[in-house]
């Protein structure tokens, strides 16, 4: 089993994701340069957080045209696991691997803080080690994390159990006050139709050691590892 972490110019959580997989999960992992067009040999590809191409024009808009994104599309079509974190989530939406888009936070400010998310789907390849309703403590750090989709798409996401995580308070209540950015229906993470592509705004790779304040992010990565082995 092998992970790949894609590096776009401007990615800045690539090294954190790499560290989480290699040093905490103790799994094999490579960096994949954005010019790469072949993902053979990988089982899970991570699109990390950061500011690919400076997030100029629109978050993720330019990165989606990198050669590697063609390969990611094929990889996903073949059923490979893809997870986009923060900027990675934005890129997956721009590339139409996930529905919807991420708008500027309704606070209009960058927000970096620990918060709580509730696990809505406990069978996916990314969350099956969690239980439904479990509250995870994972930080966010973004300026454009306000998830938006058309009402019919939202209905579809709900009906097909494709909402992975929702922002909530520490007791698991999904409230307006616990929504940090104005996301529709408090959505923090979603799945594609096939269930092999996930996107989330919170940073699980930042919550993998007690020393950092939480180990809840490990559940996400360990879910992937167990599903693949």
């Amino acid at each position: 089993m092998k992970f790949g972490v894609i590096q776009f110019p401007g990615s800045n959580c690539d090294q954190d994701a790499y560290y989480a997989i290699r040093d905490v999960l103790q799994q094999p992992v490579d960096y994949i340069w954005h010019q790469e067009s072949n993902l053979a040999g990988y089982d899970c590809v991570i699109l990390p957080g950061g500011f690919s191409y400076g997030d100029y024009l629109r978050t993720g808009a330019i990165a989606r045209f990198s050669p590697v994104m063609g390969a990611v599309q094929e990889f996903a079509d073949r059923g490979g696991l893809v997870i986009g974190i923060c900027n990675g989530f934005q890129i997956l939406c721009e590339a139409h691997l996930l529905p919807g888009a991420l708008l500027a936070n309704n606070t209009l400010r960058f927000r970096c803080k620990y918060l709580h998310v509730r696990v809505e789907n406990d069978t996916s390849s990314f969350t099956h080690l969690c239980y439904r309703g479990q509250v995870l403590r994972i930080p966010i750090a973004h300026h454009s994390g306000c998830y938006y989709c058309e009402p019919d798409v939202l209905k579809e996401l709900e009906e097909q159990d494709r909402i992975l995580l929702r922002y909530c308070d520490r007791d698991g209540n999904v409230t307006e006050q616990s929504n940090p950015n104005g996301s529709v229906s408090n959505i923090a993470g979603i799945l594609n139709e096939q269930g092999n592509v996930a996107g989330m705004m919170p940073h699980p790779e930042r919550a993998v050691e007690d020393l950092l304040g939480s180990e809840d992010g490990v559940l996400i990565f360990r879910s992937i590892v167990e599903r693949l082995s």
Partner: protein
């Protein structure tokens, strides 16, 4: 003129005298112009004049501050020895060093706060990675006028926004700092940014243009007209026409900077870069002459080979442009392509613009035409220095002798405490640091909001701690003592998280040094700081001076900001300032005896935030500091943290003991019952900013061990009370004076800044 002769026999054409109004406009005085003529043996060209004007400005040449800065031991040794590097490197063992520097971007931020602050962050980061160090954390120390003025709110909002814009994108966590508000910073905001980097000691890169014949490469962004004469701009007072100087402000591109960080670190790994320097103030002029001067070499460059962003730029403009995100690299001959390939891979320009020579001269060509030819050392190291007059300011005696006994006790101590907690200088800065990515790189183990930020060093058991401190009001009331307290408080903040001081970087912000009163403040501050840094074994390894922080109406308080680095040997043994649940004993570790503690002399309210926030006064003398007593307190707390005795440690500073206790409660979400003894009024017991005190909390059964350590260090400890319930209750001499719900304290402390800014 043999000095001006090229190997090929080419010389700069003898030129006519430059009219005085031209060189004065550039910032040179008559004597300095004459000095240029003497050095060159002729009149300078327009390009040469521009180069001297900018390199001999206070900003680049330290012409006023250098004689005083020699009071700092390391600076003196560096000037007299091997020369200054871009940032100091401190050995932390295990083969690692920490590069650290702080810099001001006050003037650009006053004119265009967003870009001014953003490019400040970019500049300080380049100072760090140009040494081969990966930037691992940034901090900032900000000062603004009162927030009731919309202009100050605008500056505050956009400075923070600019720091967030740049720092978040480059992926270096901004882990904390300080923000203070005083009327004197209205119109003169201070934006000081600090950055630290991690480097293997055997991989430090140097800013030296070694090896004649080696190609000189310009990497990074293209060059435009931005920021021309930004450096001289920073060396004059801001007047009403500062707004029209807007074109001087540079625009930052953090995306390019992020690529530049990765490319530079990757290129340095090849071993083919013999010298490298970032480009900040004075752009190509500064980087070419400084690297050549340090290596004792010269350089020949052609401005036509510089990739430009705009058409029709003159050699003068190219030499002085302060376009951001550029570096000058001196590459081993024959390996240009390998190095260039790395920069190209990251989408950056890498152009050879010249080569190193052995004649000590900077030769600037515009194609075939020689437009400047000047000795590198004369630009980089021979700026005229001045010993300015000093005079004790008149205001001092007046403010120091203010009769504090005339100040009445407050009617309601609860209201006074709430008001103090809501004072923006004391209030929670969450609104600020939530806008900064403070976790990227996943090494921040103590997040912003505690006394110091803590960053673990992977591959070791160690962590570093960082803090910035300065109380400008203290420095206004007594520059020497104020500067010493800044150092003592920084060391105290480090002790509270379990770190021993290692080194200091500073940002010395003052008014117009050509005024004897201002220069007196400057000298006294440096004297106090130099002495305290030696005492706390934290030498000043780098820093920056910013003068002319004044408008026609007013000068700022003398503000010598201390950025202090500390080391934690075992990252597991660290401490934060929040109380941790019910039933802990709350103890005051103080450098003073119980008798001192109760006395009125020691517990003077002079210079306190209480006097400022409640009575609108900046008067009295700052609190007494005895450095030996201070150090003993640090030793007690450090030993107690090392033995894992403490659940929290929080220093007493702005707002006094009551504020320290309230913050511990708010952050820990738990109440406290406290009993104090005082021989003067309760206000002094609650709000005096008496130095050398740390409030700790611990389980009762560990108190004996803490006592043993304290006795051993000859420090008295006093049990103040315990954590309990959901209220902060304080009695002075058994008389209840404070009784407030933590929820209400929290509302005052947490909501103050958001309420002001989101109104």
């Amino acid at each position: 003129m043999s000095a001006n002769r090229e190997p090929g026999g080419r010389t700069v054409q003898a030129t006519l005298p430059i009219p005085p109004e031209v060189y004065r406009e550039m910032g040179l005085n008559d004597a300095e112009y004459q000095r240029v003529v003497e050095v060159l043996g002729r009149h300078p060209t327009y390009t040469e004049l521009g180069m001297y004007a900018v390199m001999w400005s206070e900003h680049c040449g330290y012409k006023f501050s250098r004689p005083i800065l020699k009071l700092f031991r390391k600076y003196r040794e560096a000037i007299e020895g091997s020369g200054l590097e871009n940032a100091g490197v401190i050995d932390i063992g295990d083969g690692f060093g920490i590069a650290m520097k702080m810099e001001s971007h006050n003037h650009p931020s006053a004119v265009e706060p967003f870009q001014g602050a953003a490019t400040g962050v970019g500049g300080i980061l380049r100072d760090i990675f140009t040494m081969g160090a990966r930037p691992i954390a940034s901090m900032n120390s900000l000062r603004f006028g009162n927030l009731d003025d919309p202009r100050n709110r605008y500056l505050f909002e956009h400075v923070v926004g600019g720091i967030a814009f740049y720092g978040n994108c480059v992926g270096v966590p901004t882990v904390g700092g300080e923000v203070c508000f005083e009327e004197c910073y209205s119109g003169n905001p201070l934006v000081n940014v600090l950055s630290v980097g991690l480097v293997r000691i055997d991989e430090i890169a140097f800013a030296r243009a070694c090896g004649p014949g080696n190609p000189v490469m310009l990497v990074g962004s293209r060059t435009g007209r931005d920021g021309i004469h930004g450096a001289t701009f920073a060396s004059v007072e801001l007047g009403p026409d500062s707004e029209s100087r807007r074109p001087n402000v540079q625009i930052g591109d953090p995306f390019t900077e992020k690529c530049l960080i990765e490319a530079t670190l990757e290129a340095l790994k090849t071993g083919y870069i013999v010298g490298i320097q970032d480009m900040g103030a004075a752009g190509i002029t500064c980087s070419t002459c400084e690297t050549a001067a340090k290596a004792g070499t010269g350089m020949r460059i052609d401005v036509r080979k510089v990739p430009l962003r705009e058409e029709g730029m003159t050699p003068y403009e190219i030499m002085l442009s302060e376009s951001q995100e550029r570096m000058l690299a001196i590459v081993q001959k024959g390996h240009e392509d390998e190095v260039a390939r790395i920069f190209t891979k990251w989408g950056l320009n890498a152009s050879i613009i010249g080569e190193v020579t052995d004649d000590g001269l900077i030769h600037v060509y515009d194609g075939n035409e020689l437009v400047a030819q000047v000795p590198a050392k004369s630009l980089a190291e021979e700026a005229p220095t001045y010993v300015l007059d000093t005079e004790e300011p008149e205001y001092l005696k007046r403010v120091q002798s203010y009769d504090l006994s005339s100040i009445p006790e407050p009617d309601d101590y609860n209201q006074a405490l709430l008001k103090l907690l809501a004072s923006p200088t004391i209030a929670s800065k969450e609104w600020v640091y939530e806008q900064y990515d403070h976790m990227v790189q996943t090494n921040t183990v103590v997040l912003p909001g505690s006394d110091a930020a803590v960053i673990r060093i992977r591959g070791t058991k160690k962590a570093i701690a960082l803090t910035t401190d300065c109380n400008g009001r203290y420095c206004y009331l007594d520059p020497y003592l104020g500067a010493q307290i800044a150092v003592a408080e920084a060391a105290r903040n480090l002790a509270c998280c379990g770190a021993k001081p290692l080194a200091v970087t500073d940002c010395l912000n003052f008014g117009n040094p050509e005024k004897p009163e201002v220069f007196w403040q400057f000298r006294r501050c440096v004297e106090g700081m130099a002495e305290a840094c030696e005492f706390f074994e934290a030498p000043v390894v780098s820093g920056n001076v910013s003068f002319y922080n004044e408008t026609p109406d007013a000068a700022i308080y003398p503000t010598p900001v201390v950025g202090m680095l500390g080391l934690i040997e075992d990252v597991q043994k660290r401490c934060t300032s929040a109380f941790k649940g019910e039933g802990d004993v709350i103890v005051l570790v103080s450098g003073w005896t119980a008798e001192d503690e109760a006395s009125c002399d020691l517990n003077s309210l002079g210079g306190s935030e209480y006097l400022k926030a409640i009575h609108g006064l900046a008067v009295g003398k700052p609190p007494v500091l005895v450095m030996e007593k201070e150090k003993r307190v640090h030793r007690v707390v450090l030993r107690a943290i090392d033995q894992m005795l403490l659940n929290s440690a929080h220093d007493c500073s702005d707002g006094g003991l009551a504020t320290t206790l309230a913050e511990g409660c708010i952050m820990g979400d738990v109440g406290a019952q406290i009993s104090l003894v005082s021989n003067c009024g309760p206000a002094a017991a609650l709000f005096a900013e008496t130095q050398s005190r740390i409030v700790v909390s611990l389980p009762a059964e560990k108190l004996g061990k803490l006592r043993e350590i304290a006795e051993d260090e000859q420090v008295e400890i006093t049990v103040l009370g315990r954590t309990h319930g959901d209220k902060l209750e304080i009695a002075v001499n058994d008389e209840p004076v404070i009784n407030v719900k933590i929820m209400d304290l929290k509302e005052a402390w947490c909501r103050s800044i958001p309420r002001t800014m989101e109104d």
